[in-house]
Point group: C2
Chain length 206, copies 2
């Protein structure tokens, strides 16, 4: 079953794993052309099936996008963990690495990031997506907790995390949406991150 490759499947009546094929085709299309230009019909053509086929596997078009969002959150978290591990958990460098990664992820996966946050608010109201976002946040808070413990910072890690997330999310959005470029061309957003992070961590050394 699992050794049936895409090659072997081609030309058959039954696809083999259409569900996964549609999710990955949809992810590719969203990344390439943006969710606002996404059509499930295009994903079907990529997967080589008729435009009615998805409805054997998904409630509707939105369910596909909901799953794309969940995969996006999971991947972002995984990469964030790697970034922290590389910089050394509990260090200031880890905080830089984690937050830099957030911005980098947004810039490298703009259309996906937009979809994950607010582009289509309805998609975020369903339980699995909510849960996925919560889990993602939990993993970030854990890194902040490590930092607070190592640096003997008394303030609640989640409170610090929310303050920093707010800034970094704004940074990612404004850079991604080219609002900085419209208003202050050539702005060094990485420097803005590095300079502001200590203020938000209330780092004494700042």
């Amino acid at each position: 079953m699992s050794e049936r490759t895409a090659e072997a499947v081609r030309g058959r009546y039954h696809h083999g794993d259409l569900r996964e094929a549609l999710i990955s085709a949809s992810t590719e299309l969203v990344l390439a052309r943006g969710a606002e230009n996404f059509s499930l019909a295009d994903a079907c053509r990529l997967a080589g099936v008729s435009t009615a086929a998805p409805y054997k596997h998904f409630r509707d078009r939105n369910e596909v996008l909901e799953i794309v969002i969940q995969r996006g959150f999971t991947r972002m978290s995984d990469e964030g963990d790697v970034a922290v591990a590389g910089a050394g958990p509990g260090t200031f460098d880890a905080m830089i690495a984690l937050n830099t990664h957030y911005v980098d992820f947004a810039l490298e996966n703009q259309s996906l990031f937009r979809l994950m946050f607010g582009q289509n608010p309805e998609l975020k109201t369903v339980e699995p997506v909510l849960k996925c976002g919560q889990e993602c946040f939990g993993r970030v808070v854990a890194h902040f907790a490590d930092y607070c413990r190592a640096q003997r910072i008394a303030e609640d890690p989640q409170a610090i995390c929310l303050r920093v997330w707010t800034f970094i999310h704004g940074l990612a959005c404004l850079k991604m949406d080219e609002d900085y470029d419209a208003v202050s061309p050539g702005l060094d957003y990485h420097a803005l991150l590095i300079d502001t992070l200590p203020l938000l961590l209330k780092d004494r050394a700042a």
Copy 2:
């Protein structure tokens, strides 16, 4: 010409001011149901014309949305000026008022705010929208400059403005998109704003 009211126009072959009617119908629809559920055909029905009529006044559907965005930026700026004037230009209170207004505007006009920032990136690439956003930013920087002058702060007002905007934009987005609620139910985002603003202004009193 201008004394021809909507009443007087009803039933006539020529609408009178279809262009404005479609812009305001579209604005209403965006605010009510979100840009992701907007259809120009609905706006036509609201205005009482055929679905082909808009094409005498606009390039395409996107041009209507571009104008909705521009009006949104202008209104946001106007209201921001009023907020500052009320609190007293140059004061810390004015900074609070201006930034609080930004968040309030986002929350009270969620669908419009989303459209103004990133929901459909293509809409923001055209010249008039870019110019409108720049003008809006310029008016905000002017308020920061007043503050710096009055408080004898040496740092470049635009640099401070960019730092604060970044935070406040993140706050508006995360609150609007219910990301705070998913992750930290009942978070007092207004307190978060008030507490963090001094850190970002590098206010000595903080």
